[in-house]
Symmetry: C2
Subunit: 513 residues, 2 copies
């Protein structure tokens, strides 16, 4: 009987909305855009991971050509007309309507920024990045200062061209965290900092010196293969992705069925590559979790960088640095890297969570990390509110470090020059790291409520229930809703600092206070 | 004094032709085309070497999108106008005029083939390739036959659209060997076959069974690193290129400064990877030898596949399978692969030149290889002269194998289905392999005349004088002239079968007769 039913169904018209030529056109145009986007992504990935050094100049030229075509197709007035037509088409289903909104938003933003400004930003960014590399190497902010000044000026013009209601910084945030306002971000950071500061005071200085076994030679090929099997054990689909090495770890979707993550092994350190793999696997699982039937639509993407980061942080920290998962991990590490020696589960757990007043964000532990972000947000806000000059940034940076972390950089290289972001005109980006931490804690909390205790799973290294929950509630939703709305739907309440503060307090008080 | 002269020169206007806006426009358009070409090349390279399997469908879609844009820019009528204008501009220098001719040719050919036919060929090729894979696996030509029939029909239409004077096959040859006619190719093959056939008779059956030491386990990672240093020792610039693994070895220029070759290691065989590396390094040295100042012009490319193949064959065979170079190679191989054992230099030299009546072209030795090509040329000519039906191909193939090589395939998989080319609509391609062998022997001959005996160099593994000669006479010429004209200029006479026949006769008579 089942066979007959199926056979009847197969002869019927496929389910779904009625034929809609405008919609079909939009889908075709989106595929076209995505195909260009895929090629650009591959040119970038290859540049970081594979390209021989002498290919650099030609690669830059290729990318510029493809980006120009992408931009001109995205801003094509006839795409605007199509979006207008579909914007008032009541016959669209929810996903179709959401897709129109997503593409509308991208089209409108691209249209609003004048081509001259786009080009000037691209050129200035290219030069500024080179000057930043030199300035950091020479520990001399003055080499970078005029270029950063120029970038800030152009970003202000860009923000004004895009438009904003409350304040200019809203337009910058909107590039990475659509729909979230400066006011909301400031409020949540203020709660978070107020909660973290006394906790850091109580905890950080109670930790001893960093365990010595962490620094010793670890074979890099073995690290690579260990990380590859770790990623796979977490659910990374290797038939639809790759794991390579690059100077800075990242994850990039080249196209449907092609999600690539990278790590960076170090000769005398094991934990950085392992936790980079867990972090990037979090990103990759999200990308691989976008449903196949959604991937050819504008909603077949992650809704914000903060939400993306929630997944990397959840796997890296909430899972990877938990007592239960480290208990699972340690024997596997010892099996492959016997030089780790007789480290106890408790000592290993402490080692992967070692808190310190670090000068460098990317070396920061889970506890102090968000304070590094808080100071960057403050400085960006001051710059874009015209309350701070670029020339005063180094001093302002050092003062903020003193205030938030109780340490003062010994150099600009270890201070204001440490991050690549500003040289690449990525103002507005930093706070998504903390939004990611906040979302991660809240989502993990909710998953635990729904699934019951996950410790037993993690102790066995079986994270499939958690992944399934994330697939259902987060990954499969794509960009149906803005990130904050998605969070509200999943969590049943708006995002707050409470889950992260509660989690960090419990963890670090038990560990080091 | 030298410093002052240089400083004066630096303040003068750069040398070169007067400003010419039409020429500048052409250069900009060529850069644009090349940038698309680079992206397409990378998409292809990555598909063969890096892409995870599930990325395949999206990759095909991306490539189709980029190829369509490339095609529409190449056929743009305003490019035709620009080429018209520059075609009658007497102020252009030789390289500029040659560049206009090269791009004119590509533009005209692309314009002549109707877009519908381009699309139909692309689709048919995609399907035919899949059916060919299945047909070969199932050893069943009938699965492939209708698709090949369709492809041959479309190739006839394509040839007629492009146009031809003497016969249709000229238009197919012209895709790979511009300016060479069927008549010329047939004449040279007829001489070559007449010379090879009695030589094969005398030599092949005199060889014993293949040496057993050739088949045993060889660590594949060691093979890879051995091949990488071999390529580098021949002159491959690793800062401007890569050497990876792929199912079928190939070389591809992604862009200026980015030349990528691949090899394929096998677990139980050493020589295939070593000779693939020498072959592909020959291609790569040619690509890397195109001068920097030419690379941004249409003449900054290799003039034909035959000339390209001349370089791969020269390094693989004339160098790599010479007694002098194998004497250099063997101790290095023994050092890394001691399992080779006590093989003598003479035995090693014989082993890398072992002749056999193989059924399979890609396993053929230097002596019999061109007979495999001769039969393919005969069959293609018969097809395109309407003297042979696709359905009669398997029988015609087997008869031709019997006639040329004295063996009859036991199956279509080992016969007419063995090569990928026809499924990919590459009719006209095969004879460039033999043209490559002919050019290689003639060029090596001429280099020896000019440089004196090269055996001493090869015995030391120092091939720099030979490479320098090739750089000067071949590589640095780019596409200034069609391949046959370049050969005439370098050799002082037209290409003939004499140098190759003389070389093979001397070598194989001494070895096995």
């Amino acid at each position: 009987m089942a066979d007959i039913t199926q056979s009847n169904e197969a002869t019927q018209a496929p389910p779904g909305p009625r034929s809609n030529p405008a919609w079909d056109q939009l889908v075709a145009r989106f595929e076209d855009l995505r195909n260009f986007g895929s090629a650009i992504a591959l040119l970038r990935w290859d540049q970081e991971v594979m390209m021989p050094p002498e290919g650099n100049a030609a690669r830059a030229s290729s990318m510029a050509t493809l980006e120009a075509v992408f931009h001109s197709r995205l801003t094509d007035p006839s795409l605007g007309d199509l979006l207008d037509e579909l914007g008032s088409d009541d016959s669209l289903d929810q996903d179709q309507a959401a897709s129109v909104r997503v593409l509308r938003r991208e089209h409108d933003k691209a249209v609003r920024v004048p081509e001259d400004l786009v080009r000037e930003l691209a050129t200035t960014r290219g030069v500024a990045y080179q000057r930043w590399v030199e300035a950091r190497a020479a520990d001399d902010f003055s080499l970078f200062e005029p270029h950063l000044k120029h970038i800030v000026e152009l970003k202000k013009q860009e923000a004004d061209a895009i438009g904003w209601e409350d304040e200019r910084y809203d337009a910058l945030l909107d590039d990475y965290e659509p729909g979230v306002t400066t006011k909301e971000v400031e409020a949540i950071f203020s709660e978070l900092v107020a909660g973290l500061t006394p906790l850091v005071e109580r905890v950080v200085d109670a930790a001893d010196a960093r365990p010595e076994w962490l620094s010793q030679p670890f074979d890099e090929a073995l690290q690579q293969s260990f990380c590859a099997s770790l990623a796979e054990s977490l659910g990374f689909n290797v038939v639809g992705g790759r794991l390579d090495q690059s100077p800075h770890p990242f994850t990039m979707t080249v196209g449907p069925g092609d999600v690539r993550q990278t790590i960076k092994t170090e000769p005398n350190s094991l934990l950085p590559s392992i936790y980079a793999a867990m972090h990037e696997t979090g990103h990759a699982l999200y990308e691989q979790g976008i449903p196949k039937e959604m991937i050819n639509l504008p909603i077949g993407q992650v809704p914000s960088l903060g939400m993306h980061e929630s997944q990397s942080r959840l796997w890296e920290n909430l899972v990877g640095r938990s007592r239960a998962y480290t208990d699972f991990l340690l024997p596997r590490i010892k099996e492959r890297f016997p030089q780790v020696g007789m480290v106890s589960p408790e000592d290993f757990y402490r080692a992967v969570n070692w808190p310190q007043r670090s000068l460098i964000r990317i070396h920061a532990d889970e506890l102090t990390y968000n304070l590094h972000i808080a100071l960057r947000l403050e400085l960006e806000l001051a710059l874009f509110r015209d309350e701070l000059e670029v020339s005063d940034l180094p001093g302002a940076w050092n003062d903020a470090m003193q205030r938030h972390l109780g340490v003062r950089p010994d150099s600009d290289a270890n201070g204001v020059l440490q991050d690549v972001h500003w040289s690449s005109a990525l103002h507005g980006y930093f706070s998504t790291y903390t939004l990611g931490n906040l979302y991660a804690a809240a989502l993990f909390n909710k998953a635990t409520e729904d699934l019951g205790d996950l410790e037993g799973d993690m102790r066995k290294g079986d994270v499939s229930r958690l992944l399934e929950w994330l697939r259902t509630h987060v990954h499969s939703q794509g960009y149906r809703y803005p990130a904050s709305e998605l969070a509200q739907r999943v969590l049943g309440e708006p995002l707050s600092s409470a889950p992260l503060l509660k989690y960090l307090t419990a963890k670090y008080e038990a560990l080091f206070a």
